[in-house]
């Protein structure tokens, strides 16, 4: 087409037709949607990039515990003594240099459930809440049965599926590896409970074991000290209504004490310590060839190791 040719006269502008009107509406809607999508994308990227953790780190977290006189620790000593000593070393480091691990020797577990009950007593757990049940499998048909026991604390996963789902940033992975819950922030939606493949999270329904008896027993009304705070269950107050889980007795660790389940284990089947200390017992045990983790195919990278 010859560019110099006179262009044909422009057609007269049509009166505002429904199509023009539509286009205006669609353009405005498209602008709003594009803006909203951009804001949403930024929020999503920010949300995925931000590490939710409100814990202090560095020198401020170093704990200097008073020296405790103890029996000599040698290769014949009770492993509890060695682990207590290692614990004192670990808490003398800044929190981000510790990495708590638990090793459970299933060959030594007799299925006494003492750890479960010790944990209930330590944390004043109500009905419906349990941190460390002992999974009991029956092999064979009654009466020709054998039993297999697997204590199941929280795995304190390195890739926890429960923390990123929290809609209100109430749970996170601490620098020392423990997955913590802030009861004052948790709204009790239960999403984290569904996200855990180990069923390691439970919700406090506000019940008491002795509520239907003549007297509500005082031991149930005692406060617990989870996460180093004072929690008294009463009415609708936290931790009632919250997601609750095993935290390796963090409040005890900070005072140089082993988790209650470790201390109580009658067969010394549970070991605990700093996986980031090459000389520690758990570091040694977790590297054994017979070490396995539960549901490894879920990709959660647990910090609880089982010796089989």
């Amino acid at each position: 087409m010859n560019p110099n040719a006179p262009s044909p006269p422009a057609p007269p502008a049509p009166p505002e037709s429904p199509e023009d009107f539509d286009r205006a509406a669609f353009l405005k809607a498209a602008a709003i949607l594009t803006g909203a999508a951009a804001v949403g994308a930024v929020a999503l990227v920010q949300g995925k990039r931000t590490r939710i953790c409100n814990e202090p780190t560095g020198e401020a977290t170093v704990r200097t515990l008073p020296p405790r006189p103890t029996l000599p620790v040698d290769r014949h000593a009770d492993p509890l003594l060695r682990m207590q000593q290692e614990l004192a070393h670990a808490v003398a480091k800044p929190v981000e240099q510790r990495h708590w691990m638990m090793v459970i020797d299933t060959r030594k577990c007799v299925g006494c459930h003492a750890c479960t009950i010790a944990c209930v007593a330590e944390n004043k757990l109500p009905p419906g809440v349990v941190y460390r049940p002992v999974v009991t499998e029956e092999i064979g048909k009654f009466p020709n049965v054998a039993l297999r026991f697997t204590p199941r604390p929280c795995m304190q996963c390195n890739a926890p599926p429960c923390t990123p789902v929290c809609p209100v940033k109430a749970t996170w992975k601490r620098p020392d590896g423990i997955v913590a819950v802030d009861y004052d922030k948790c709204i009790g939606c239960g999403y984290c409970i569904t996200a855990c493949p180990y069923n390691a999270r439970t919700r406090d329904a506000g019940e008491f074991y002795t509520e239907d008896t003549p007297v509500l027993q005082p031991y149930e009304q005692q406060p617990n000290f989870e996460y180093g705070k004072h929690w008294k269950r009463d009415g609708h107050k936290s931790p009632v209504g919250n997601a609750r889980k095993c935290h390796f007795c963090l409040h005890r660790l900070e005072e140089g004490m082993l988790p209650q389940c470790v201390t109580t284990c009658i067969g010394r089947a549970t070991y605990f310590g700093d996986g980031n200390d090459p000389g520690s017992l758990v570091n040694d045990l977790a590297a054994r060839p017979n070490a396995v983790r539960l549901l490894e195919e879920k990709g959660t990278k647990p910090n609880v190791v089982y010796l089989i």
Partner: protein, 422 residues
């Protein structure tokens, strides 16, 4: 409506409301104690009710958007009714899920400290936006009529004067402005409703710990389910609540009926995929769970309520009696009501059965079991939500210009009405 029917419905409502208020009071005072969900089956009736109502909302909203966006002229008279239904069912959904929270009065934290990495935070933000859009849309659609009502006495006049934010009859250019923005918002609402209801599906399907939910089909299944159940509800609502039942009304209802039939058939195909793929070779965790859905203790929920009442009868009614107003309405009601069983059969089986076999024997406690049947208290709270929603719907139906004939929102292609006469 005949007088005895009216009395019967009021009596029914009063019974449901009385039981519901008792359930509500119990929930507020005693918390979760009387509920049967526990620590392992953490979500039960209320979460199912939540996704059920929210599906109805998204479905009726998408239907209303179809009217305003694509100018489906046939349906334009029911646009407001659809929008209002969407608002009421969304409200019912939010109340249901609010009761499920362990700490109800911390719900505001979703807004003040959201974690946008979490699907649940997204869902809350998206449905907040969705609520705002729906309320503004409804107001824009009703504004001209609200202005017209101002001269009337009684509650109508009061509603007109309070809500119109304009004195006297609405000038044509303002009405045109309202309809323009109504259309803009309706267009914005479509992807929003898809994102938000797909997001509810994603809330479940993103959890790798629950293989029953962890399927990419889940968000699509949620969307289709929303359209089917919301469309069914709309067919019923239009037939039952639209003041006129002339030829045009019948045409609208049978049009919705045909759309619902198509969607229902598509939903059946998706459901076939959802069941047949994990079950085909009869091995695995999902197979066991699906077998419990199909042939477990609650087999009748799937076969009788869902398949029989929710699929077969509506498909027959819509296929062979598609022109009959009340057949379509009945089919719609059956689909809408029985869809609750689909929601229950998504939520509960997903939580049955631990990965760690033997966990059920680890600790004897009534909340640490892998078995769940809703308690009467849970049904009572759901009754409260239903009574509240139906009351709200009735109030809107009585005191808002949702259906009156003069209230037909003039749509874009009708704008010639405003052009000066030659």
């Amino acid at each position: 409506m005949k007088k005895h029917w009216r009395i019967l419905l009021w009596a029914l409502w009063l019974v449901v409301a009385a039981l519901g208020v008792h359930g509500f009071a119990t929930r507020m005072i005693e918390g979760h104690r009387h509920a049967h969900y526990g620590s392992y089956i953490i979500w039960g009736l209320w979460v199912s009710a939540y996704i059920y109502f929210i599906g109805l909302s998204a479905g009726s909203f998408l239907l209303s958007s179809m009217i305003y966006v694509f100018g489906v002229r046939k349906l334009e008279r029911i646009g407001r009714l659809a929008l209002f239904t969407a608002i009421v069912t969304l409200f019912m959904a939010l109340v249901s899920i609010w009761f499920d929270l362990g700490q109800m009065f911390r719900a505001y934290r979703m807004v003040t400290s959201p974690n946008f990495g979490s699907m649940m935070a997204w869902m809350v933000w998206l449905y907040t936006l969705y609520t705002v859009i729906m309320v503004v849309e409804l107001w824009m659609a009703m504004r001209a009529d609200l202005c017209r009502w101002q001269t009337e006495g009684g509650i109508k006049g009061l509603v007109g004067r309070r809500l119109a934010f304009h004195r006297g009859p609405l000038p044509p250019e303002k009405e045109k402005w309202c309809h323009h923005w109504l259309k803009v918002l309706a267009i914005v609402g479509v992807p929003l409703a898809i994102a938000f209801h797909g997001g509810v599906g994603a809330l479940f399907s993103t959890l790798s710990a629950r293989p029953f939910w962890h399927t990419p089909l889940m968000p699509i299944l949620f969307l289709t389910g929303a359209l089917v159940s919301g469309g069914g509800l709309m067919a019923f609502v239009v037939a039952a609540f639209h003041p006129e039942r002339n030829g045009e009304e019948r045409e609208i209802v049978s049009f919705i009926g045909r759309a619902v039939l198509g969607l229902l058939l598509f939903d059946v195909v998706l459901e076939w995929a959802e069941f047949s793929v994990p079950m085909w070779y009869g091995v695995g965790h999902e197979y066991d769970l699906l077998m419990r859905v199909l042939f477990g203790d609650f087999w009748w929920v799937f076969w009788l309520v869902h398949v029989g009442l929710g699929c077969v009868i509506p498909i027959l009614l819509l296929t062979f009696r598609g022109e009959c107003l009340w057949s379509v309405a009945l089919a719609g009601l059956l689909i809408a009501v029985t869809f609750m069983t689909v929601r229950l059969n998504i939520v509960i089986p997903g939580l049955l059965d631990p990965h760690l076999q033997g966990l059920q024997n680890a600790f004897t406690d009534h909340r640490l079991v892998f078995w769940y049947v809703p308690s009467f208290f849970e049904w009572q709270v759901t009754m409260f939500v239903v009574a509240l929603g139906s009351a709200l719907f009735y109030l809107g139906y009585r005191f808002l210009p949702l259906t009156s004939k003069a209230a037909t929102p003039p749509l874009l292609h009708e704008q010639s009405r405003y052009e000066p006469l030659p």
